[in-house]
């Protein structure tokens, strides 16, 4: 395994994955962004502003919460939850949105665009765009706008224009296509705040770095609390930003096992899931070479997940690399398992998680009982479930809530 701190290489490759597979029009903007990021990385003023805003505006550090009741009921490992759900806007996404808008300011770009699936990244982007006085356009699949209506309203309150994307299956992948088309057209004035550890270099690196604080804090917190490193880390993986944020700091600690949980949807058959490591193959989509769901002819397949944020055909290239190296294990949770974990956490711990997050919790539910009581799991509670209330009610109570 290549040292995690030296990845990606200068070309944006994580071993055989990653890279810059974009139309020529975007190459200049991507190179400009990468260069500006390298300058910002060594600029103490950049870090000072980022850290001040993370503390005062976003609400970092987030607590590491010992889920005692749940741990006891499952009867195995001690479960800790990294409470990213308590951040401003309700999910980890704002770590990256804030970092990237500071980069956009340095680049002198005052128009911000983003794609969103569940709407959490869209809300985070609309929030920082408002905070920095930028014009903001969010691309969102029409189907996702239906199932995440609350977040659509939030983005509009924040002054963003939410543009519905009706192509294809009208979910996250189509929203990324449309955001890329906007960026190709308005590249000189516009910064694209990509929301996951996906797409062309330098995005997977930048997004990871801005979320890395999740693991950095968790590491300090668990050592302070338990005097040692955790045995297992668990996080859901759509593009994989919250997972790589939690995992990255621990990659060189061989004793720490890691599991990424993809969306198993209605089960692993074509078009019914979004688990790229179950039957996916190597390919190139939306700027990066990674594991993806495509047919024999390379056409991207339909995906399904109850959670809009995991409903995407490709996984972040860094995850593909650590999968190929065997450093991170990947499994999946079905819609039903995620909905069950969603209910469980609400009733046992009084925390309503996002449906994306619930996929990771479903794995915790399976894993914890297999471990002894002196073992420790940290799960990333990447977002809260307010946005999912209507969708979850539809599935759990069989009711259509109207807001």
């Amino acid at each position: 395994m290549i040292s995690p701190t030296s990845l990606p290489d200068s070309h944006g490759h994580f071993g055989a994955f990653g890279g810059m597979f974009v139309p020529e029009t975007l190459m200049y903007a991507l190179r400009e962004l990468a260069a500006e990021y390298e300058r910002a990385k060594v600029d103490p003023a950049f870090h000072a502003e980022l850290n001040r805003l993370l503390k005062e505006y976003v609400g970092r550090p987030t607590p590491l919460y010992h889920a005692e009741r749940w741990s006891e009921i499952l009867g195995g490992a001690r479960i800790y939850l990294k409470r990213e759900d308590l951040l401003h806007t309700g999910a980890h996404k704002i770590n990256n949105a804030l970092g990237q808008i500071l980069l956009a300011m340095r680049l002198g770009k005052k128009r911000i665009i983003a794609e969103t699936g569940a709407g959490q990244h869209g809300v985070a982007t609309a929030t920082v765009a408002a905070r920095f006085g930028c014009d903001c356009v969010i691309y969102m699949g029409a189907e996702d706008m239906r199932r995440q209506a609350l977040n659509v309203a939030r983005m509009r309150f924040l002054g963003a224009e939410v543009r519905a994307v009706t192509a294809g299956q009208a979910t996250l992948k189509e929203a990324v296509n449309e955001a890329m088309r906007d960026w190709v057209t308005n590249v000189r004035s516009t910064h694209y705040i990509l929301g996951s550890a996906l797409g062309s270099h330098p995005f997977p690196m930048i997004v990871r770095d801005f979320h890395r604080i999740i693991g950095v804090e968790a590491r300090e917190q668990i050592i302070a609390r338990e005097g040692r490193l955790p045995d297992h880390l668990v996080a859901c993986v759509g593009g994989g930003s919250n997972a790589i944020g939690l995992f990255h700091t621990f990659l060189e600690d061989a004793s720490v096992k890691m599991t990424g949980v993809e969306a198993g949807g209605e089960g692993i058959s074509e078009g019914k899931h979004a688990a790229r490591f179950q039957g996916g193959k190597l390919g190139v989509l939306q700027g990066t070479k990674t594991m993806l769901l495509a047919d024999r002819d390379g056409q991207i397949q339909l995906t399904h997940s109850v959670s809009a944020g995991l409903d995407y055909a490709a996984v972040g290239p860094e995850h593909a690399y650590y999968m190929s190296e065997g450093r991170i294990q990947y499994t999946y949770a079905t819609d039903a398992e995620a909905l069950d974990a969603f209910q469980t956490l609400a009733r046992i711990e009084g925390i309503i998680p996002a449906l994306e997050t619930a996929h990771g919790l479903a794995e915790v539910k399976k894993l914890a009982p297999t471990l002894s009581k002196d073992q420790i799991i940290i799960a990333n509670l990447s977002g809260r479930g307010d946005k999912d209330v209507a969708e979850a009610a539809r599935h759990i109570f069989k009711e259509d809530l109207k807001f």
Partner: protein
Amino acid sequence: MTNRIDAAFSRLQASGKKAFVAYVCAGDPTLDRTVEVVRALEQSGVDIIELGLPFSDPLADGVVNQMAAGRALAAGATMGGVLDLVRHIREESQIPIVLFTYLNPVYAWGFTKFHADAAAAGADGVLLLDLPPDEDGLNAELTTEGAALRRIRLIAPTTPAERMREIAAKSEGFIYYISREGVTGVQQTLATNIAEQVAQIKAGGSTVPVCVGFGISTPEQSHDVALAADGVVVGSAIVRIVEQHGHAPDLAQKLIAFVKPLVDAAKI
């Protein structure tokens, strides 16, 4: 055998003429009809065909080409089918053919195998929209060793001057200069600095012809671009004719009526 693209430019340059390159999506509305479409384009005086190999996620394309790809895929266009189509065209025509697509369908077929199979079928060049020269040599599986296909490269208005020359030095067949920032599609007005940009691309000493496209739809625009560059590329405007008349018995006549004036305007 001399590559058909190279031969076409030699012939054109010898007679002081500019090239006219037409893009259509293979399989729109069906692969059989594309044979007729290509025949009509050749009859209109088109010099080179860019044959789009449809992809489910064409992120550099505007809505006209997206819908064409959608129609082609819905009608069952596959890589194998498009290669058969090229063979079929070759039974009656020697017009140069560039396969224009995104990387993933090519990747799925096998990158090296695609280059061999496409050349064997009778294609002359390939243009992969999302494979910039930056990735050359960085991906073991993306090798084209010994391939007879000309690799057409893109240059954009955002491409810095030094990078323009680097890309030009690596280009084969012709360079496709994207005359404006944006996705493919018809534009009301053309960029004004095309001649300047073409001169800049050639400043490094590259002798590869420069063709200019993105947004051209009228004889006036075709004429203006032909004055500034070695060739004119028209795509979406032609795709729109196929969209409107794809199933009509007089599709060929409709295409010729639209395309011939564009070609004539470029033949200055």
